[in-house]
Symmetry: C2
Subunit: 410 residues, 2 copies
């Protein structure tokens, strides 16, 4: 977003992938409703007409503030005058990083494609055995975290499993498919009004999702997960709880909060360095009341535009007005024609909220072509229940991507 | 094709993937012109309305003719009354199977996606170094085999490299991109008329492809390939030469030719077993003149329909009329508005042949929806030179799929 808005400066955009992903729809790739190409766009194509932007596919390892250089994994160091750090976040495993293997999160396209394959293979395997006996744990999906990601994933899985996958796997008894949404707190969608949380809960329950509240996860293994005192056999645990910031941030030598985010100044810079900005999930940025802003796409996008504006107008540190987040509301979709929405005093749920969700998400999709494609995919899917994205690529079992850092400058 | 045509029998369709691929367009996925979902279709979706077909995703290890059972890698054995063996083929490395790692072929979707990633990563890496010095071998693409696959791949690469990729990688000098088509015989497209071979050669040369004829490959390593006496440094060697049949076929205990194909009887059965059929690339099936039929899609499809007809009408062995291949001609595309076509006495090249190629391929795409999508992809691509399929998924370098057999019964 910064790079798109910067029209005058010479920009080098460094990302560890070659594409930009529209993250709010990743769960639709993971549940085979959309194909990867529908919600991702190659960065070079995106910036083809913007001659001031140079794209580099590489991994930023560290930032040296003294020499004004960033170190990269695969190439020489790069000098900068102005630096914008937007490495995003990975999921937090609360001190149990070893859980990640058995309970992967959903932050990148690779996560989504691997989740999709694992899920489709679990169905194939259960079908192959011609019987559901003994495959119970393979057909049990446990989603950890009752925020929007967890809720959307649980809803999409329930739909895929119960409606679209059902007719395709005649040997499977659908009663053996079990989808569980686990939340440590007292209700799902804690960021929303209690009333909307209840509505979302009711909708998910109707769709067959079992919701476990007030139950923190205490152990994760390859064959199951311990929720509170209960052991749930499952080979499909998906992590959607908490964020931790990129390890790159610690090389900035600036104050960090307990999640590793940089405590930025009101103009999103780090202390004593008016031309190093930190934005998005990586920034601990407080609002009027002193509360940190949530790690959601609209915050990151508004911050991107704000920073681009400061840079394009070369605004000196002392003349900058602080960044103010304009909260345009929250939306979470649960399933077909089911969503909850909250805009200032307005609360909505059901079909109306869902249509709103569709419009907002299609509008934000980065290119007109993708908008048309995603829209036609959805129309097709909702009319036919025939997802065109259910491909399993052959791959050895050891091919899970191992990543320690996940960052790129937006 | 057999399973689609069999309307009365109880059919179990076993395939090692969960999808059917329209192989003639695989090279377009490999060159990022199409996305995987555009030319592949989940088998379960395909057969959803055909209740007599059961789909199993598994790997057939062997066939036991005495007990009438097939053994599978991941499940119990399956009994059969009638067996149709259509495992396809892999590329032949002429006794040098160790070359496959450095010079992968293009037979499956996984092949195509991995080739695409390797190619895009080579461009990214060259761009990252800001200079073409020392990356020459990374930007050299050597395609071994001058048949239709090799020609189509060379043409598509030349287009991608010189037109679509060019503007995206400002640091690359296009003169450093080198595409070589290597053929052991005296001309490319040996199956076509000499005149059309010459036209295809001229078109490829105009597009910047270097053609080396009469030069067999004598060594393949990770850093290059020896063609005749010349060593060509290249990290992108693609194998498109020769076929070898699936190892599964040897378990049939029936006569095989030097490529491992089963020498079938005129009704496509194996000797002394009127209800075991072998079709497609796996069958050595001779025409009137005693020449074996080529391993192309139209042969396999016509054989599938022929066998389905025998089975549906329960035709006894002695009443079967032999399979006759109706040759509807050959087509090979070279690039935008460039193709060669040969139908009986008719020869065509250039735009007309290319339009014909487009129509034929879209027509054969298995579902109406895919036809529409592929068509719109192509129109978009030809208008904008913006392939929407250029995604690189993160994956460790060791993730190359290792396969010994590649088979499934169509």
């Amino acid at each position: 977003m910064v790079a798109r808005s910067l029209r005058h400066a010479d920009v080098t955009l460094i990302d560890r992938t070659n594409h930009h992903v529209f993250q709010p729809l990743l769960y639709q790739v993971a549940t085979a409703a959309l194909s990867p190409g529908d919600i991702a766009w190659p960065l070079r194509t995106l910036f083809r007409s913007q001659r001031n932007v140079r794209v580099m596919m590489d991994d930023v390892v560290s930032v040296d503030r003294t020499t004004r250089m960033v170190s990269l994994r695969n190439s020489l160091r790069i000098a900068f005058d102005i630096l914008i750090v937007a490495p995003g976040s990975r999921h937090a495993y609360f001190g149990h990083d070893e859980w990640e293997t058995a309970a992967p999160g959903l932050k990148t396209m690779t996560d989504a494609v691997q989740l999709r394959e694992k899920m489709l293979l679990a169905f194939e395997d259960a079908e192959r055995r011609r019987t559901s006996t003994g495959v119970r744990s393979q057909l049990t999906f446990v989603i950890v975290g009752g925020g929007p990601t967890g809720v959307e994933l649980a809803g999409a899985l329930a739909e895929l499993g119960r409606k679209a996958m059902g007719p395709d796997f005649p040997s499977l008894r659908l009663e053996d498919l079990s989808i569980m949404l686990v939340e440590a707190g007292p209700r799902i969608l804690p960021g929303f009004d209690a009333e909307l949380s209840a509505k979302a809960s009711a909708a998910l329950t109707r769709m067959g999702v079992m919701i476990k509240l007030r139950n923190p996860v205490s152990a994760v293994h390859a064959d199951g997960v311990r929720v509170g005192q209960e052991w749930i056999p499952s080979t499909n645990v998906i992590w959607a709880a908490g964020n931790r910031a990129s390890p790159l941030l610690s090389t900035l030598s600036a104050p960090q909060d307990s999640f590793g985010r940089i405590k930025v100044r009101p103009d999103l810079t780090i202390p004593d360095d008016p031309w190093i900005f930190v934005i998005g999930d990586a920034a601990h940025c407080v609002d009027h009341g002193g509360k940190p802003l949530p790690g959601v796409a609209p915050v990151a996008m508004q911050q991107g535009r704000y920073v681009a504006d400061l840079i394009d107008h070369d605004v000196p540190s002392e003349q900058r007005s602080p960044f103010v987040y304009k909260d345009r509301g929250m939306l979470a979709t649960i399933g077909r024609a089911q969503a909850v929405a909250q805009f200032g005093p307005i609360r909505a749920s059901g079909l109306f909220a869902w249509l709103l969700w569709c419009i907002v998400h299609i509008f934000f999709l980065i290119s007109f072509r993708n908008r048309l494609r995603v829209m036609s995919e959805w129309v097709w899917y909702y009319l036919t229940f025939k997802p065109g994205a259910k491909l399993i690529f052959e791959r050895p079992a050891t091919a899970r991507s191992i990543r320690s850092t996940d960052h790129g400058h937006e």
